[in-house]
């Protein structure tokens, strides 16, 4: 197989990873908006996919640059390393989906890259600052979502508690969900698609077709956003169980607050080049909104599984990537 063919093959796998990410996370974007019947499932899916796609024009490429420059040293990057990292992330995602563990594709990707880099050149090629940044935001991002979700919900409850017309209030919040769902999809598109951009750019570096520090080519940006948008479009159709209902029962008001809190967290992370989990962020926000009622309104079993996913994802995907890289070396 020619090197160019290998390069395009691995780029296709990266885009597939992005597509599955959109497919998997569609529920987060459309759950509440469908549950409250603001939009039909078809309309909601198209709405989320549209905002996933246009995110490229709004929130830059800081996360993609982080993936290319702050995880593995440039001289260690090769197509085999990125391939092993991707396989580590994909395998881990499939395994945890089968186990019902809400793991993060972002952390799996970072873990995969780190594992493959260690297998190729040893621990010294891993950039510890970058790993620390990712690691601390595994905890910070849901906590920011939690704090913002709780505060927003309390503020909104203060504002609306005097309004006696429940119907009018509900109608207003149902309309506002259009904006909050769009904002969340925008944040999701920006943060998650950029990870794939970073991976594709690393592949180009590995194939000597680009240099670290250069701008991400437009075709890479557009293809990553197209893949995640299409994934959301196809994923949303089949999702019946919603993230909102799994954690705590959300009304339109709660939906707006949770999505707005999560979107704000994702905007902050994307602007600062921090790869975070969109699933964990919205989970934190939903827990925050749910805990304005009482803590028992939150289904802690799901939240506990998220904590397990925090602990296991990076080492787990790194281990799979190490094995994959050794196998690639053995057969190449």
């Amino acid at each position: 197989m020619t090197p160019t063919l290998v390069l395009y093959g691995v780029i296709a796998i990266a885009l597939m990873f992005d597509f599955v990410n959109g497919f998997h996370d569609a529920a987060n974007s459309i759950a509440t908006i469908v549950a409250t019947r603001v939009l039909t499932p078809v309309q909601a899916v198209l709405w989320a996919a549209f905002w996933n796609f246009v995110a490229f024009a709004v929130l830059g490429t800081a996360v993609a640059k982080f993936i290319t420059q702050e995880i593995v040293k440039a001289d260690a990057v090769s197509i085999g390393l990125v391939f092993a990292g991707l396989i580590g992330a994909i395998f881990w995602n499939v395994l945890t989906a089968w186990m019902g563990l809400p793991s993060s594709s972002s952390h799996a990707l970072v873990g995969g890259l780190v594992g493959a880099a260690i297998a190729k050149s040893g621990g010294h090629v891993v950039i510890l600052d970058g790993l620390e940044k990712t690691g601390v935001f595994i905890i910070y991002s849901p906590l920011i979502g939690l704090a913002l979700g709780f505060s927003l919900m309390v503020m909104v409850m203060w504002i609306v508690h005097r309004i006696k017309k429940v119907r009018t209030t509900n109608r207003v919040f149902r309309s506002m969900q259009l904006v909050s769902a769009a904002a969340f999809s925008l944040g999701h598109g920006a943060n998650d698609a950029q990870k794939t951009m970073g991976i594709i750019f690393l592949l180009l570096v590995g194939a000597n077709k680009a240099k670290i520090g250069e701008d991400i080519p437009l075709w890479v940006v557009l293809s990553a956003h197209t893949a995640i948008g299409l994934g959301t479009m196809f994923g949303g159709w089949k999702i019946v169980k919603t993230m909102g209902n799994k954690l705590t029962r959300l009304q339109p008001m709660g939906g707006v607050c949770a999505e707005t809190a999560a979107a704000a967290t994702l905007f902050f992370a994307s602007a600062n080049g921090i790869p975070v989990s969109t699933t964990h962020t919205i989970t934190g926000a939903i827990v925050g909104v749910g805990s304005t009622q009482r803590l028992s309104a939150v289904r802690w079993g799901v939240a506990r599984r998220v904590v397990w996913a925090w602990v296991l994802t990076i080492p787990g995907s790194a281990l799979v990537a190490i094995i994959t890289f050794k196998l690639v070396e053995l057969f190449s």
Binding site: D129, E132, K133, G135, V136, I139, Y140, L143, I144, L146, A147, F150, S151, N272, I274, S291, R294, L295
Partner: protein
């Protein structure tokens, strides 16, 4: 202790986690841990006061 507001404890534990992460947070982003920790401490305090007020009323 049995009747202590569990939500306040939850917020305070979250604040503790935020503060604990500050030493390993990159310098540029350290303010995130500090602001988040202080904010969660305040939320815990507000939740505790809210719980006390409710219990007094009933």
């Amino acid at each position: 202790m049995k009747n202590f507001d569990r939500r306040a404890i939850f917020f305070w534990l979250s604040a503790l986690a935020s503060f604990a992460l500050i030493p390993v947070t990159p310098e540029k982003l350290m303010a995130v841990g500090v602001i988040l920790g202080c904010f969660l401490l305040l939320l815990g305090g507000a939740s505790w006061l809210d719980d006390r007020t409710r219990n007094r009323r009933t």
